[in-house]
């Protein structure tokens, strides 16, 4: 298979020699303008990308290798033109809804055990942030079926998926999964199902029908009450191995920093004013002509602005039931209700016989129970 251009489905190596992947017309390019600033551009000869760094005619990008540093045609500044990946797409996509970010996407993809050939169902599609990563996981032989309640968003997603080349393995459908469940045609086909809906508990039964044995259901719910309701439904519908986690991506800032070691010298400009942002450190450890009492060091500290909660992720597995399991369960329930006394009688007989044999006597279980020595004055509140 040759290099797939303009899509972000495959992390292909460079087909040309010497490690270069060249930009062609209609390719999707992620233009990196600086730290944490990037935008998507579809290469169309005649168009020009304009930013605060200057003007970048698309025509000039054709034939250039992905990763190149490009100076603006008006010479003002520069940008890097990068090949798209699902992770970069998540940074630059158009937000039609709240989206999932890289850490949650990574965990979801992996906990659902996706691999080339897997079938995965998603609802809702939203802005397609997760969908792209799912498509990468299951390509080239798997399938992502994604469902969205809002028709406008369905149309937008469809177009995007085609342009980004993930339509090869992805189908987006307009459907209200909470009301209608997943299509019957997909029954017992899914290796995994992902739900990001206000009422995931409403479609757990449908998910159970759609999953293969040992398939994984993942729900994404911001509020804990929702998680609770969903877990109740999961337990009712044959799921086990249920766990709820949350994952924060704590981003760190990295900076070079001058720290003073001499307490007799006044605090210098370098040390007083907080961080020296983005100041370059001389290569190869050559020290600047700063005072000898300044120690320069690289430090990493967590960013203050933090996405401190996204959602609770709940994972559960559909346990393949043995044949006649429903009948077995019913029988068990009956036994445990009626069989209790019978069992205790048998046990008492067994014990009496054994105690007789061993010539050891112990207080009988039917002896009057002694009150606990620890009298609880307020038993309603302080039960053990």
């Amino acid at each position: 298979m040759s290099h797939v251009r303009g899509t972000m489905l495959y992390a292909s190596p460079a087909p040309e020699t010497d490690r270069e992947r060249l930009i062609r017309e209609n390719d999707l390019v992620v233009v990196v303008e600086g730290f944490n600033a990037a935008v998507a551009q579809r290469i169309r000869i005649g168009e020009t990308f304009v930013s605060r760094h200057g003007r970048f005619p698309h025509a000039a990008l054709v034939g250039v290798a992905f990763g190149t540093k490009i100076r603006a045609s008006d010479g003002r500044g520069f940008v890097h033109v990068c090949a798209p990946t699902p992770e970069l797409w998540t940074k630059v996509l158009a937000h039609r809804t709240q989206i999932l970010y890289a850490p949650d996407i990574a965990l979801v993809s992996a906990e659902m055990e996706l691999r080339p050939g897997s079938t995965v169902l998603e609802s809702g599609t939203g802005s397609g942030s997760l969908t792209h990563a799912l498509a990468r996981c299951v390509a080239p032989t798997g399938k992502v079926w994604t469902f969205e309640f809002n028709e406008t968003r369905v149309k937008a997603a469809e177009e995007e998926f085609r342009a980004n080349g993930i339509d090869e393995v992805t189908t987006v459908t307009h459907r209200d999964i909470e009301r209608d469940g997943f299509p019957e045609e997909l029954a017992s086909t899914a290796d995994a199902v992902f739900l990001d809906l206000p009422g995931p508990q409403k479609c757990v039964a449908s998910v159970a029908r759609s999953l293969r044995p040992n398939g994984v259901l993942c729900t994404f719910s911001p509020c804990i009450e929702q998680v609770h309701k969903t877990i109740v439904e999961m337990k009712k519908h044959g799921f086990a191995d249920i766990k709820t986690v949350e994952l924060l991506g704590r981003h760190y800032d990295v900076e070079g920093r001058c720290l003073q070691t001499d307490l007799s010298a006044p605090l210098s400009k370098e040390t007083k004013g907080g961080w020296r942002k983005d100041q370059k450190r001389p290569r190869d450890g050559a020290t600047e002509d700063s005072a000898s009492t300044l120690t320069e060091t690289v430090v990493a500290h967590p960013q203050q602005r933090l996405q401190s909660h996204t959602a609770y992720l709940t994972f559960a597995r559909l346990i393949p039931a043995p044949e006649n399991w429903t009948e077995t369960l019913a029988e068990r329930a009956k036994t445990s209700e009626s069989g209790n006394e019978e069992v205790l009688k048998r046990a008492a007989e067994f014990l009496a016989k054994r105690r007789g044999t061993k010539k050891r006597y112990r207080p009988q279980s039917d002896a009057p129970k002694q009150p606990s020595k620890h009298v609880i004055s307020n038993p309603d509140d302080y039960s053990d």
Partner: protein, 457 residues
């Protein structure tokens, strides 16, 4: 190594056939039947303990705590099946999802007050349970030979002096605890990277360098590991990271397991993941210094490369044994030249033995332009130094240093809170970015004053 084109055709054929995705999915899905020679992770009592077992007909598997099961109990059933091992009879019976039906609607005072007292170490009354049992240990042992696990629980409760004084909630909890003691519930897990990673992380973490599963998942995604890629991996996590890459790429594309020194480090963990030959065939071992040398010499001077790669294909006997078992080959000349000519589309580094900055400096030039890379370490500082170096030398953009902070949550009526203690206090840190130092040509609008080449070598 199977030619790329062949597999691609196969894939295309599948896509155009009637129910292609089902077929493909059928082949890989984790709920397929357990077969002879499969590895299965048998997890007892919701994670109380677990063991990897290779299923061979006639073999008896030790489940720990004196429980055993014949391999036949599992063969033919789907992965993911659940079992009960009865201690009184030695039987292993396949069951469905959990039989305990908790009344989740109960949200009364009791459900609030009782568990609180309970969880916070019986803060309000001294523990009276100890010594409250009127049956002797030997009596209990004798009874166990006659009664099932569930029956034992009823008997033990009836002979407890304090059982009736407990609240309904505490009685329930008491019974559940006793049931665990007298009956073992087994979950037969498919050994996916997630399952294998967690098993090592909690049971034998030094083997996988304390790689936590969320971090592993971020390594895969941030390095853009996927089908048809060409991935370079340097890991000393026992093969866990390599296995995860193999799983993600599914035999489509190529993986170079780069090693430090003259021999690959142990990759035993890969063996637990039930990979088929296609997966193994997509991997080549290669010496990292050999790759670097081959890259510097270029394709035209392949002689030295050959010499180097020959040298690295003479492993020790122990090494050979493992290599054969793992069905993974060392890179030959053609592979080396392919790797260096096309460059890697993804670079993954996960080792506590090497310095991230130095390694990135040497390995990034092996990557294709705009390749994705991700580096894991269990402390932030070495990654921060690498980050600072990459930013200041303009070798990478989209740089990000992230600490995944993972927390498990207990969700129960009236008792919902994050888990109280964990052995997963750190998942380490991940540095990721896009390599932009690999461009040779000076385009008309190229900004750099000196050729990139110089910077990367």
């Amino acid at each position: 190594m199977a030619p790329e084109g062949e597999r691609a055709t196969e894939a295309a054929a599948e896509r155009s056939s009637g129910k292609p995705e089902t077929t493909a999915s059928e082949r890989v899905h984790a709920g397929r039947a357990m077969r002879e020679n499969d590895v299965v992770l048998l997890e007892m009592n919701d994670g109380e303990r677990a063991t990897f077992a290779t299923l061979r007909a006639g073999k008896v598997i030790d489940l720990g705590k004196r429980a055993r099961a014949p391999a036949e109990a599992f063969l033919g059933a789907p992965f993911g099946s659940m079992y009960e091992a009865r201690h009184n009879t030695g039987e292993v019976e396949r069951i469905g999802a959990t039989t305990e039906v908790i009344n989740e609607e109960t949200d009364d005072e009791e459900a609030f007050a009782a568990p609180l007292a309970d969880e916070r170490s019986n803060k309000n009354v001294p523990n009276t349970e100890h010594g409250a049992q009127t049956l002797t240990d030997s009596e209990i042992a004798a009874l166990k030979r006659e009664f099932t696990g569930e029956e034992m629980v009823e008997i033990i409760a009836a002979y407890s002096k304090t059982f009736e004084e407990k609240t309904a909630f505490a009685q329930e909890k008491y019974k559940a605890r006793k049931l665990k003691k007298h009956m073992t519930k087994i979950l037969a897990r498919f050994p996916s990277p997630r399952v294998v990673c967690e098993q090592y992380f909690y049971e034998n973490p030094s083997k996988t360098s304390y790689m936590r599963f969320d971090s592993l998942s971020m390594l895969m995604n941030m390095a853009n590991v996927g089908a048809h890629g060409q991935t370079l991996v340097l890991e000393t996590c026992g093969g866990l990271v390599l296995g995860s890459i193999m799983h993600r790429m599914g035999g489509f594309g190529r993986i170079c397991n780069g090693f430090v020194g003259t021999n690959p480090t142990g990759m035993e963990v890969v063996q637990n993941m039930n990979f088929d030959p296609t997966h193994y065939d997509s991997v080549r071992h290669a010496s990292l210094s050999g790759l670097i040398e081959a890259r510097q010499k270029g394709a035209v001077e392949a002689d030295t490369t050959r010499a180097k790669s020959m040298e690295t294909t003479e492993p020790s006997t122990a090494e050979k044994k493992e290599r054969v078992y793992m069905k993974m080959k060392f890179a030959n000349d053609g592979d080396m030249s392919d790797f260096t000519q096309h460059g890697f589309s993804s670079l993954v580094i996960a080792s506590l033995s090497v310095e991230p900055k130095a390694v990135l400096e040497q390995l990034l030039p092996l990557c294709a332009s705009s390749a994705s890379f991700a580096v894991w370490f269990n402390a932030s500082q070495p990654l921060a130094e690498a980050y600072y170096y990459l930013r200041n030398s303009n070798l990478a953009v989209n740089l990000s240093l992230v600490e995944p902070f993972l927390r498990s949550q207990q969700v129960l009526p009236g008792r919902t809170h994050p888990v109280m203690t964990t052995d997963a206090g750190s998942g380490g840190f991940i540095l990721s970015g896009t390599y932009v130092g690999g461009v040779n040509t000076n385009t008309p609008i190229e900004a750099n004053k000196k050729p990139k080449r110089e910077e990367n070598s």
